[in-house]
């Protein structure tokens, strides 16, 4: 597992750089004092608050204080909720993660069969239909899909609940909404990948053994065409969390997306910083996992 150790070590500089960027953004974003005090506060009041928050220290001193508190798990206090930001974020993180995972799952379930079908029926009506659907799926903004789904399946026909996150049925509409664009992109990718692999000579070898076409596809074509698909899944997962912000707002989903949105509206810096940091950590973890999956999938890839 020396590969794993090395990758984990490589994460440290990325994380440090990330803290610098987040800190710099907040530093530039403005003076928290004026947003914390009422408008009629005296300049003496401002001075006292700035002093107590350590805002009169030089930039680098403030950065190291920020870093030190972060290492001890202190990500600041949300002035809106008057509670530790990390606690607030971690409370809502599972809802967002489940939603994203469900969306990913839906995207995989839709895209893999459709992509393979389109590739096998290349240049036929089926192929054009699948390509057409995936272009539409990619082109529709997800807030619009969400609203339409609510209108038809929750308000008119009332199969699914309009909003909230109490039962499994609550998952269906938001997860589908979030997954559609990804499903569309993955369908096109699976199609392209299968078309490429199907021309490989080892596929001909499999046929020359007298193998059934269905097994040729499942055993030789499918596994080999998965590799680029894994990359997209890995790259898209953090983006899904980004997309979740919009979808959570539409469906009143109690995740970090809505938390972030209200934090931005009220300039609740502690929460914004914490969420950005958590998403970044997440991205790094998913990238590591993608690499590991590669290694399991493709024996040619060695990490030594």
């Amino acid at each position: 597992m020396s590969y794993l150790k090395r990758s984990l070590l490589q994460v440290i500089p990325s994380l440090l750089l990330l803290t610098v960027i987040i800190f710099a953004l907040v530093y530039v974003a403005g003076d928290p004092v004026s947003s914390m005090l009422p408008e009629n506060a005296t300049s003496e009041d401002r001075e006292i608050l700035a002093e107590s928050l350590g805002l009169n220290e030089p930039f680098y001193v403030q950065y190291f204080q920020y870093l030190r508190s972060m290492v001890t798990g202190d990500f600041g206090t949300s002035y809106q909720y008057q509670r530790p930001a990390l606690e607030l974020v971690l409370e809502r993180l599972p809802a967002t993660l489940t939603l994203s995972l469900m969306a990913m799952l839906i995207a995989i379930i839709i895209s893999i069969p459709l992509g393979i079908l389109a590739a096998l029926k290349r240049n036929t009506f089926v192929d054009f239909l699948v390509s057409g659907i995936s272009i539409v799926g990619k082109a529709m903004p997800n807030f619009w899909i969400g609203i339409m789904l609510i209108l038809f399946l929750a308000v008119q026909i009332q199969i699914f609940p309009v909003s909230g996150a109490d039962t499994p049925a609550h998952f269906v509409l938001p997860a589908f909404t979030l997954g559609v664009a990804l499903a569309a992109e993955m369908t096109r990718l699976v199609r392209a990948s299968v078309l490429e692999v199907i021309e490989e000579e080892y596929v001909q070898t499999a046929r020359s053994k007298g193998q059934k076409e269905s097994i040729v596809i499942s055993k030789h074509v499918f596994l080999n065409s998965l590799i680029p698909v894994v990359t997209i899944v890995g790259l898209q997962f953090p983006q899904l969390i980004g997309g979740a912000i919009v979808v959570e707002t539409v469906f009143a989903w109690p995740g970090i997306g809505r938390l972030l949105l209200t934090a931005i509206e009220t300039s609740d810096m502690a929460i914004i910083q914490t969420i950005v940091f958590v998403i970044a950590i997440f991205t790094i973890v998913v990238n590591l996992l993608t690499d590991l999956v590669y290694r399991v999938l493709d024996p040619r890839i060695k990490y030594n």
């Binding site: 490989e200 000579e201 080892y202 070898t205 046929r207 020359s208 007298g210 193998q211 596994l223």
Partner: protein, 278 residues
């Protein structure tokens, strides 16, 4: 496939293979060719790139793709016309009665699967009754038959861990897995270096002698032909322009194209300055 069939192992009669194009006219790649292969015989098909020799072999195997179709003639294997078989019956012939090895050993093995499972696949398709252990033993036996040293270790490897020559041996092992009577080798040595080339040729010759496997050997290299073939078919622009016993062909080439091919072969006399050797 009658067991007591007496004629040639394979006869190709007036075979025509065409490819669909976007325009109205199909392209005829193999144009009315006839030849045969006797049991235990090595027949070389010679010709330049695009002469239709690979398409001929894919037509025989039933592996044409990208709009290629056999549109005329017959392919008789032990007296049975393969073109009249159903897809399923054709599949049962492929790999069991006749098998094929390809030009690029680097890309003709699945990079994700271990050698043993790729050989085992060929066995399992046609002999599903074999137990796992029997299949494993057969895999090792096949690897030994194609003279792979340390067969047990190689069986557990992935293709990228083997050299080109070793991979071509594995391909031959796969092709021989069900003891076919006909082996089609489509330029099996073109991608290999000269030493490995000689080893693979010797291996194919040896398997032909020991097991009586008929071989169609496709090549553009006449020196290889001289080394391996009993009989030679010369193809040019989709047609057979000459068919002869290998000695006869080299001594008295009849067709102008064959003569040209001969002249293109490097000889020692040529190097010595005799520019008209043929």
């Amino acid at each position: 496939m009658s067991k007591n069939h007496t004629g040639p192992l394979l006869s190709v009669n007036h075979l025509v293979t065409e490819f669909e194009t976007r325009g109205k006219n199909n392209i005829t790649v193999v144009d009315d060719i006839s030849f045969h292969v006797n049991e235990g015989e090595i027949v070389a098909i010679v010709g330049e790139s695009g002469s239709g020799k690979s398409i001929t072999s894919l037509s025989i195997m039933g592996l044409l793709k990208n709009g290629g179709h056999v549109t005329g003639g017959a392919i008789l294997y032990q007296g049975t016309d393969l073109l009249k078989l159903s897809k399923k019956e054709r599949r049962q012939v492929r790999g069991k009665e006749m098998s094929m090895i390809f030009q690029e050993p680097m890309s003709s093995l699945n990079p994700m699967l271990r050698i043993k499972s790729q050989i085992a696949e060929a066995i399992n398709i046609h002999q599903p009754a074999k137990s796992k252990k029997q299949v494993q033993e057969k895999v090792i036996d096949l690897l030994k038959q194609v003279e792979i040293p340390d067969a047990e270790r190689v069986a557990n490897r992935f293709p990228h861990q083997l050299s080109g020559g070793m991979r071509q041996r594995v391909m031959i092992a796969i092709a021989l897995a069900c003891e076919p009577k006909l082996l089609i080798a489509d330029e099996p040595t073109t991608a290999l270096d000269v030493t490995t080339q000689a080893q693979i040729l010797a291996l194919i010759k040896d398997l032909n002698k020991r097991r009586g496997t008929g071989v169609i050997f496709i090549t553009h290299d006449l020196s290889v032909v001289a080394d391996i073939a009993d009989r030679v078919v010369v193809m040019y622009q989709g047609k057979i322009v000459e068919e002869a016993d290998v000695f006869q062909l080299f001594d008295h080439p009849q067709h102008a194209y064959t003569k040209k091919l001969m002249r293109a072969m490097p000889t020692i006399e040529k190097k010595a300055g005799d520019s008209h050797a043929n």
